[in-house]
Symmetry: C2
């Protein structure tokens, strides 16, 4: 297949591009490189030393003989160029990672809120409009998030996208299938909830074939392909905005920083290893919905854990201490989470578990690159509301962290 | 109260501004005048001769002694200026009409789809962000639409915003209140469905006080205030994009053009007179939700009718013929519609019915200004999909209209 990977320079996009190229697909990366610009803005960098996208593609060709195309294009701002590219190349499938993807970054200031909504909504909508306008028959696979549902459910397992409800009518109760209701907890998560409405409309009105992957929190760094050459290595974020919880624990352990648990650590979240992410995208591509069918929604996760249980797991493995800090997010202190992932299991996913993969990460990544860590960037500083910002104060040296409330 | 009216130069915005000014409130109109630019783009104009917004405000002051401020500002593009204005003026309430509001315009071409999403989502989100950032404690009243729910319901009355559902859990069925599920039928309606998610988030995360008015199709031209001087007259759209169904029938009757019913005319829609719209906004302003409360959602409509029944009503009153044409929209051919509007009735709304108001419109507006009608602009030409566009062909002279399928 000819596959366009939008956001193919990012944390999930790059290993997905390599994985699909390795399988013999013709892969084109479209990216505006905004994630690298945000590194510059925040004064942070990937723990792993990361080459330019052009250099990465050159190394991949050198190692495998396979070509990955790179096209510098801003989906949200350059609708006309996007449409032209799609019309000329007519890809068979499009994998869409091209959205600002950090909840803390989306809550950093009003400017960051405005940017996240403007960028994410226009990127997704421009893509959908251009697909209709060019008349290409591509299957769109989008990376969404489990986070659209919020984390204060009534304790029912989260189904894959849809919910059967009963509605009172004058002639008795009638069943109806609806999109599983969302309750996003950050501006970032909100944009993914908006995406869901966009997909529903374009599948219904124009028959676009769309799969939306509601992904858990990704952990891990390497895939089979990124291991092939040091310059193919994936990015690894550990800062308070872009670092996901488990990667941050690993880094904190590696430099003797306490594992920072926000609130009680009773938040339960869904997780998936990066290797399983790329495999899930492959499986989703092989199972496209029919034209005119409803959007296919998969929960892309493999296990759920409480944050404090994760911290204890890493502490046991590394000897690190755990520090409980005030929570900068507005969220339930404790929640249960049961998630169905029957679709991917049925398609043949064989998950990598935390238990088997975690030690590799500690050795291969966290300790190996510990000398590159900037301790000042470890604390999480983006607060969800002005009230919370007033109550939480973080020492920029990253040594003491306290609540002033 | 000090009230900002965003989109106060438009069809609903202008009479709302006059109504609230007349009641003694300090009214400020914020508008980018985009609706006038779209008239220019489409080569159409209001049936009623409409002065500039500055001139309208001058006449209002001359007639009543009351001042309405006008501020040229683009909500979607000028976030910084919006925030500054809100910080300086700190209005007590904000009425938000400032979105592109025609479904056919939103489906006209890819450019119009992209514009509608970009404009409407950014306008609403910029406003919400600026309200949080400035910390003003204003009540936001937004004009939404009944159309977010689509028109293929299971026959249950549409409640006011929320739905109680039962979800299967491991410990039995549990009740949960969710936003009434949307199923928008055009890009325009889709943006109003996105707005609903934005409101839910900002009410929950930041305690903004928000009322969302899900309005039916507005008919009528005059209110008590617009009648006071010829230069205060409201706009009246009759073209295929911006003219709403009943206003179009009136104009067609006035010039001896057949009343154009698309499809079977079995589409049932909700209606409200413009005078009741301004009264509803007043009532909504008087009944603000508490900070931290869920978004208050009212259905702002007073009666429902089948489109073909409306055509027959106008035909009977005027002697016009009815022409059944292919439907350029993708929608159910026939639907029932039952809508609850208990909230506004409880607040004291006393609706104007079609039966009592319709003849005034024929005499006061349609016949009076019939000489200004451009017949070429009467047909509806925006098709919902490329397939439909291929099947529906409209004679630009507006004399013959046929299906070529």
């Amino acid at each position: 297949m000819k596959i366009a990977i939008l956001g193919g320079d990012g944390f999930c996009g790059w290993p997905t591009a390599l994985h699909l190229s390795d399988q013999g697909h013709e892969v084109h990366i479209i990216d505006n490189l905004s994630r690298r610009w945000i590194d510059t803005e925040l004064g942070v960098q990937s723990l792993t030393p990361m080459d330019s996208i052009q250099e990465r593609c050159r190394i991949w060709k050198q190692e495998t003989g396979k070509v990955i195309g790179f096209h510098l294009l801003d989906l949200a701002k350059e609708y006309e160029r996007l449409r032209q590219w799609l019309a000329e190349e007519a890809p068979d499938a499009i994998v869409h990672f091209a959205e600002q993807r950090a909840a803390p970054y989306s809550m950093k200031s009003d400017r960051h809120k405005v940017y996240t909504v403007n960028n994410n909504v226009n990127a997704t909508h421009n893509l959908l409009t251009a697909m209709v306008e060019t008349g290409i028959d591509a299957h769109l696979v989008h990376l969404g998030t489990m986070g659209v549902y919020g984390y204060s459910s009534v304790g029912a397992p989260i189904p894959e996208g849809y919910l059967d409800v009963e509605i009172d009518t004058p002639t008795g109760k009638k069943g109806q299938e609806i999109l599983y209701p969302t309750r996003p907890g950050s501006v970032y998560h909100m944009t993914k909830s908006l995406d869901q409405i966009l997909f529903q409309f374009y599948a219904q009105n124009d028959g676009l074939r769309i799969t939306d992957l509601h992904q858990g929190i990704v952990w891990g760094t390497h895939t089979d392909q990124t291991r092939r050459h040091p310059q193919l290595i994936n990015r690894f974020d550990y800062d308070g905005d872009y670092g996901t919880v488990l990667n941050r624990f690993l880094i904190q352990a590696a430099i003797g920083y306490p594992l920072t648990v926000h609130g009680t650590g009773g938040q339960t979240r869904a997780f998936i290893h990066l290797q399983d992410t790329v495999r899930c995208v492959e499986l989703a591509l092989s199972d496209a919905p029919a034209a005119g069918a409803r959007v296919k929604i998969f929960n892309q996760m493999t296990e759920t854990h409480r944050v404090r249980d994760l911290a204890e797991m890493v502490a046991k493995m590394t000897g690190a201490e755990i520090a409980f800090l005030p929570n900068p997010r507005k969220e339930a202190a404790e929640n249960d989470l049961i998630v169905k992932n029957d679709n991917f299991l049925a398609l043949g996913l064989n998950p990598i578990t935390l238990e088997e993969g975690l030690l590799d990460e500690v050795v291969e990544v966290a300790r190996k690159f510990a000398h590159r860590i900037d301790r000042k960037r470890v604390p999480a500083v983006s607060a969800w509301t002005k009230d919370i910002a007033g109550r939480v104060e973080t020492d920029p040296e990253g040594k003491r962290l306290k609540s002033v409330s």
